[in-house]
Amino acid sequence: MADELEVKVNGQTWPVSASPDTPLLYVLTNELQLYGPRFGCGLAQCGSCSVLADGVEIRSCVTPVEAVKDKAITTLEGLAAWYAAQRNLSPAPALHPLQQAFIDEQALHCGYCYNGMTVKGAELLANNPKPSEADIRRTMNGHLCRCGTYPRVVKAIQLAARTMAGATP
């Protein structure tokens, strides 16, 4: 039954009232009222709905909620804590270093795609602490931005990499 379904999001377990085939995105936005993941295409083409499932970026708009019931979901809201847990930082910083880098670089315009840019960028930095520009371009290629802020996303990821190198205990 639908009412037995639960999801683990940002370290907390939540009951899900939606049907099991409901895309995770609609559970996160309507039931949990999160602001991070957001609708962009519903086709896994743009990356605005990205979240981490056990640390791996997925597109929540095409992922049935049932498919992630055994996974730990991390959204934009939980990225700083997720990062802190990986690095044994206590207390957790208010923002993931990439979020701070986006502020420092004044990267975004409308900011709508920055959920995906942040989630994917954080995954990249977790897997590759010193990404080259080519690494960044390749890894981020599934994330679209209409405002044309790609150049500053590259800069911010590089800045965050330097910050994180300095922050490693």
Partner: protein, 756 residues
């Protein structure tokens, strides 16, 4: 009795709680309590339909006891940072710093009517209004302080909202003490002095954007985030991709029982408008897709491949935009003539997040939340649709994703309003990807014929530009479907599309010049509307390639040729600034052609959008085998007069260069006879992350010139620079964009065939 516009009341009830809970940031101040902490007169703010009196200081500024100020602007934050820029202007004249300033969201019951947030007008036209209001407020405060402190105004100085006697800082009074949370009750005197540019401390500086921290943290409320109590989720149901304009979408059959198995899903039909609502969003999505509906066939759209010929052959209404000198006499002096026709495609706004809106329509009033770029115009349209006086409709602006012109941001709220009126409940409508791309109001296609000549000394002696395009829509799709309004488009002119006299050769000294705009009917084509830098990419693509051809014929470096034919110091300023940033080395175009498979080229171009001055250099690589063009590095320079915040302008220049690259290399609305076929990111590709050029932005700061637009004016130059770089790399001209691999291969093959 309060006259609060509340629809069914759900939006008010939910929002007062939610925004109070969220607290903090200026950008999410809710309307229900906008005046709650203030004195009675200001408490009324929000209860009465606007627009408020633009000549009352209270319309623009509220001062608080803690010596902070709230500003009421009529220009929307679209991610371009205009809120930050306008706060800088207000802070400068008021002598407050950024930490003391906040703005509220746009709301037809709260904020002044500054017109549409379009044409990059926020700072250019909105700025002077804000400056005037702030100056009036400062004067009113100085008058009060003068009485309080017993000295002449001339003896007073202001720092961070504290007025003191010059030379005696111990005798001081703050704005908050003088007026805190009480109204000014003062109308504009028209005599308030403005600061001189040389006195600026805040204007002209690189203040960080006020909207960025919340956007990065994920606490910023985009329109798509808004949920209210008792709300239904709605979706529109339309054919996938619009048909030939004027034929609408007529229902042939509709079987409501086809969604009977989706709990709570209901069809809303008004005329040919069809939507579905459901308690749960996923149910609404599924219902819209599963609803058994068929549409009547309409008249066919023309063949996309031969659209240029069709546009050129259509009977047009012609406007002579420029006619100076004697064109025939000019061409009689010609040593070389460059003449060609060019085609620019329909392109989509392609908002990254499709439009979303929420409407709460009661029996005699309505509240509508949307990402409209003109709340008052939106209100008028909604009133007509709902059959209510405009004063009974309240529209609030919530930022969506960047749309760069008139996307579906009026269509979505109208759809929500129709569904809310039918159901008696608040309805949130989220357009799907195919709704937004398929039913956009596209930037119209254009055919251009350009002819220009140089004399034997390399001087441009004649120039003519003829452009054929249709205009912009008037009624939104939801209105057209629901009310069966007849096809309508804006006539050419100030408020519609016209070949722009500035981008068509005005930057050069040309004694004989003629520019003609040929308006053709939109009927039977696609729905059109302003798309960022309307027509300018087309104009610069055609005009600046023509100029480049003349430079090539004169055997001159393209920069040197432009420099030689320019007189205006501001055009020369941006041209030189872009060239310098790119370390431009003089040589004629296509003078270093190589046999390699991948060849490099560089191009330069200028252009604008009515005002301001833009120039760009592009460095590209062309793979002659695959036809792929890679934009490696773009350099853009913009002179927008006084740049209130150069960092914001730089960010706009970078965004323009990336978006122009996308539009020049990739974007084209496609259609077959039945309708538009480019309805997702596969069929309407935009520039991807790995494809973006490095970007260098240069702001040519002119503090003593009036500020002018900074959000569109490098688009044309950037696109044309890419086209010119292609010629430099290959010796071949491309006259139809986007410059897709297929077109590149075909052009290179044709050139090779011609040379054999």
């Amino acid at each position: 009795m309060s006259r609060t516009m509340s629809g069914t009341g759900a939006i008010d009830a939910t929002f007062s709680r939610r925004d109070l809970l969220k607290g903090g940031g200026a950008m999410i101040i809710g309307f229900s309590f906008a005046g709650a902490a203030t004195a009675p007169v200001l408490a009324a703010r929000g209860d009465i339909a606007g627009p408020p009196d633009p000549n009352a200081i209270d319309t623009w500024i509220a001062l608080h006891a803690d010596n902070t100020a709230t500003l009421y602007f009529g220009k929307c934050e679209l991610g371009q940072g205009n809120t930050t820029g306008l706060l800088q202007i207000a802070g400068e004249e008021l002598d407050l710093d950024m930490s003391q300033l906040a703005a509220v969201r746009l709301d037809t019951n709260v904020t002044p009517n500054q017109g549409a947030t379009s044409s990059s007008s926020s700072i250019e036209r909105g700025g002077p209004q804000v400056r005037a209001a702030a100056a009036e407020a400062r004067l009113a405060l100085l008058q009060r302080a003068s009485q309080r402190l017993g000295v002449q105004i001339g003896s007073l100085v202001v720092t961070k909202g504290v007025i003191s006697i010059d030379g005696d800082p111990s005798r001081a009074v703050s704005f908050g003490e003088l007026l805190g949370d009480k109204p000014f009750n003062v109308t504009f005197t028209g005599t308030a002095p403005r600061k001189q540019a040389s006195e600026y401390k805040l204007v002209g500086t690189r203040v960080p954007r006020v909207d960025i921290p919340a956007k990065v943290a994920g606490t910023y409320t985009h329109m798509q985030h808004v949920r209210v109590d008792n709300m239904l989720h709605g979706r529109v149901v339309r054919p996938r991709g619009q048909r030939a304009y004027g034929s609408g979408a007529r229902i042939e059959s509709l079987d409501e029982s086809s969604i009977a198995d989706i709990a709570g899903a209901k069809v809303v039909r008004r005329g040919d408008f069809v939507g579905v609502v459901a308690e749960r969003e996923w149910d609404a999505v599924q219902a819209a897709q599963r609803l058994d509906i068929t549409w009547q066939d309409g008249p066919p759209l023309p063949d996309l491949a031969t659209l240029p010929e069709l546009l050129r052959a259509t009977k047009s209404t012609d406007t002579v935009v420029v006619d100076v000198g004697d064109l025939d006499a000019g061409f009689a002096q010609a040593a070389h003539v460059a003449a060609a026709s060019y085609f620019s495609p329909y392109q989509a706004h392609a908002a990254f997040g499709p439009n979303c809106a929420l409407a709460d329509v009661g029996p005699d009033s309505a509240v509508v939340l949307s990402s409209t770029q003109d709340i008052y115009a939106s209100r008028a349209m909604l009133a007509k649709l709902l059959g209510m006086p405009a004063e009974r409709v309240r529209v609030l602006y919530y930022e969506g994703s960047g749309t760069f012109g008139h996307s579906c941001y009026e269509d979505a709220p109208q759809a929500a309003a129709i569904m809310s009126q039918a159901t008696g409940r608040p309805v949130r409508v989220q357009f799907m990807r195919w709704d937004e791309l398929g039913w956009d109001n596209y930037g119209p296609a254009q055919v251009a014929e350009v002819r220009a000549a140089i004399d034997a000394t390399g001087r441009i002696v004649a120039y003519s530009y003829d452009g054929w395009q249709h205009g912009w829509h008037i009624n939104e799709t939801s209105t057209e479907l629901a009310m069966a309004t007849p096809p309508a488009e804006r006539p050419e002119g100030t408020f519609s599309i016209v070949v722009n006299r500035i981008s068509t050769g005005s930057m050069y000294r040309i004694a004989n010049r003629r520019v003609v705009s040929h308006a053709i009917p939109m009927l039977g084509l696609l729905k059109g509307s302003p798309l960022r830098s309307p027509l300018d990419m087309a104009l610069s693509f055609a005009s600046e390639q023509t100029i480049d051809e003349l430079a090539h014929a004169a055997k001159l470096d393209p920069l040197e040729f432009r420099r030689k034919n320019m007189g205006d110091t501001r055009w020369l300023g941006v041209l030189e600034a872009a060239a310098k940033a790119a370390s431009w080395q003089p040589r004629p175009a296509a003078s270093q052609l190589a046999d390699a498979e991948v060849v490099a080229g560089r191009g330069i171009a200028v252009g604008t959008h009515h005002v301001s001055y833009g120039a760009a250099v592009a460095e590209i690589e062309v793979n002659k085998r695959t036809g792929d063009i890679v934009a490696k590095h773009l350099y853009g320079a913009l002179d927008c007069g006084l740049a209130v915040n150069p960092a914001l302008v730089e960010n706009q220049i970078v965004g323009m260069m990336v978006q122009a690259t996308s539009r020049m290399l990739k974007e084209e609305v496609t259609f077959d006879q039945k309708g538009v076929t480019s309805t997702d990111w596969v069929s309407y590709p935009v520039l991807r992350f790995a494809e973006h050029p490095d970007c260098t932005a240069v702001v040519v700061q002119r503090i003593n010139e009036p500020s002018s637009g900074a959000g569109e004016e490098v688009m044309g130059a950037a696109g044309a620079a890419i086209a010119n770089a292609f010629f430099d790399a290959t010796g071949v001209r491309l006259r139809r964009y986007p410059l897709t691999p297929q077109r590149v291969r075909a052009a290179l093959a044709q050139a090779a065939a011609n040379s054999n």
